[in-house]
Amino acid sequence: MNLLGRLRFRTKINIGITVIVVMTALILAMFVTRMASDALVQEARKRGRVLTGNLVLRSVDPLLSVDLLQLKTMVDEITEVDSDVVYAFIEDERGRILVHTFSDGFPVELINANKVQSGSRMNIVTIDTGKEKIYDFAAPVYLVGKKIGTVRLGLSRTKVQQVTNSLILAISMLTGLALAMAVLVSTQFAKRITARIGMLREHAENLVKGNLVVNRDKKTVNTCHEIRNCGKRDCPAWQDNLRRCWYISGTKCPECGENNYPDKLTNCRNCDIYINSSGDEIQELTETFDVMANTLKYHIEDLETAQKNILRQQKLLQTILSVSPDQVSLVGTDLTYMAVNAAFARSCGKKEEEIMGMRDEDLFNEEISNKRKQEVISIFSTGKIINKENLYQPEDGDPAQWFHTIRVPVYDEDQNITGVLSTARDITELKSYQSQLIQSQKMESVGKLAGGVAHEINTPLGIILGYAQLLQEDVDPESQIYADLGIMEKQARFCRKIVADLLGFSRQTTSDKIEMCFNNSILEVVQLVTHTFKLENVSIITDLDDRYPIIQGDPEKLKQVWLNLLSNALEAMNGGGIVKIITRLDTQDMTITAFFADSGYGIAKKNLNSIFDPFFSTKPVGKGTGLGLSVSFGIIEDHGGKISVTSPLPEGILEEELPEEAGPGTLFTITLPLEPGKEKEILSSEF
């Protein structure tokens, strides 16, 4: 069958036709030959009977008179007259041969080859002599019911066979001729068929190669609108000359209906366009193939678009995962890692490919890996999302880190959990900010409390001061009591000053910028902190411009800046030191500059660019809010000025004798613009 399958179509058609013709010829020859042969045999037998009968009648007289010469003459005449008679001889009543026609002696076996039964008129048998077949006729001779002899006649079958052979030959020749003609016609037909199929194959090859343009250069003959001359140019069939109209949707003919191919064919079969234009099965196959090619082309375009989209989304997703600073990982049901992003791989100190197939115990220590595994297992069993914050303490002494971890189950189409997706975000800075914000709010509360306390304490201080002064009027100025009352009054005034200063810095109101004395704002702050600084063995030196420059500013906010700088300076000097404040007026630039220099441990070079950032602080945990300098920075900018820092101190700033524990020191430089003085506010003059 494999061999048969590989034969060419033309060969198969020819073989088929040949087999059919030959089989038909054989069957025909067999039946015709048999019929003709039977007829001839019957005819030959009749002739044998007639000849034998005649010979019997004529031999009665010679047998009675024992006239052997006449008998001989009769026998020889028969063989001469009819060439089909092979032999003839006559026997007497005892079976002895009287006369025969054999020239080479009599074959004695012939006597017993055909025995006439008693009472029978004639008996016929077939004798095969080896050379030919002979019909042997035996007929007794009777006279008044008494057998007086037997006549024997041999008739040849060769002629009959020759006729049969001629008949067979004629049939064979006719069959061969028919077969030749059939093969010729079928070859032509098969050639046309295979040519068209070859074109279809070529078309399919183009399709496989990706060329889906269907017969763009070939116009379909006899389009429907040409046949009908309908003139409906808005019909889609006008636009598409490459396809038959029954493949096109939405055609305008009344018979077409609303269906699309192949349902449309139900209506098309009654249409004369379809009846006249549709071809045989191969043409239908070709046109269906074209439709398939077109459809495939559109589908491939859709698939390419979808593939492009998927690739873009995949690339986008890959980019998002790679760029994301969060650690993303996906664990399968076997608790091995199926996917991780770059951040996760970095945190483990490995490459992403290395982590595929690994387990938690391969990446983390026993405690961490056990905890992670338990969390994953609990998600696989319960499906509950894990959302928590945990502190991670590295073993190598790096600072501790806070992570916000979310673990989510991943489901398949059957709602089975197939994985656990984990995301860990480093919130160490956020935690630090939270801590600093809490501290900042505490400081805010303390500030408000201080303001309230200061306000509340003002009244009793006033009363103490007043009564002390009243008592002084009642006693002798030279007495000890008067001096003691003076001390009480003095200390009460000190308390009043402290309270007034505290109130000044705890104000919540945002006053407008007013004309103010630059030096005075600094001096007020210096007065406030001098006592505290003395306790810490720190001295404050002021070198202020004696022209007492006036600027437009918010006195309270600028005091906040000065206080912040002085507080930082104090904290930078353990065991004592010097703080020097210098102010200089530049009438050419119309600016006033303040210099705050300290002899403390200074600022590290790497931190110089960060000290004005919010929440930046080098102070120990719990000290400060990290907001002072950034707020000061904002205030100075709000005043249109500049603030900068230099560390260590430049030459010539602190020329006083420095203590032994002096460090490189820090210099803050603040420059503010002078603005044209405005008319003094009436309110200001009142107070």
């Binding site: 009244t459 001061l465 007043g466 002064q469 006053s511 009142e686």
Partner: protein, 121 residues
Amino acid sequence: MSEIMVLDDVVDAGILVKRILERKGHKVIVFTNEDEAISYVGNNNVDLAILDIKLSKMTGVDVLAALKQSQASIKVIMLTGYPTLETARECMRLGADEYCVKPIDKEELEIKVAEVLEKNS
């Protein structure tokens, strides 16, 4: 010399002012209740009122407005332990003659009162 009314939620503070000013010969009445003070001014001829700003029921600014409405010729000195620019502006707008800050020096108080009363006459 003059009749002076003092209103302060802390009675000792009011008494202190009373002691100081009585030595100068003034007649001084001390109140801690806003309604009583306003009623007293309405029924009597008071030359000067010394008002605290932080009070129990009202603010000194409200009392100032009420006193001016009741007796337009009255002189007022505001005496506050919590001075702000806003309250200072508001008091001056409503007709206060002085705005002083607690704790106030005895001599300063005497001078201020004398100045206000003298300006009136």
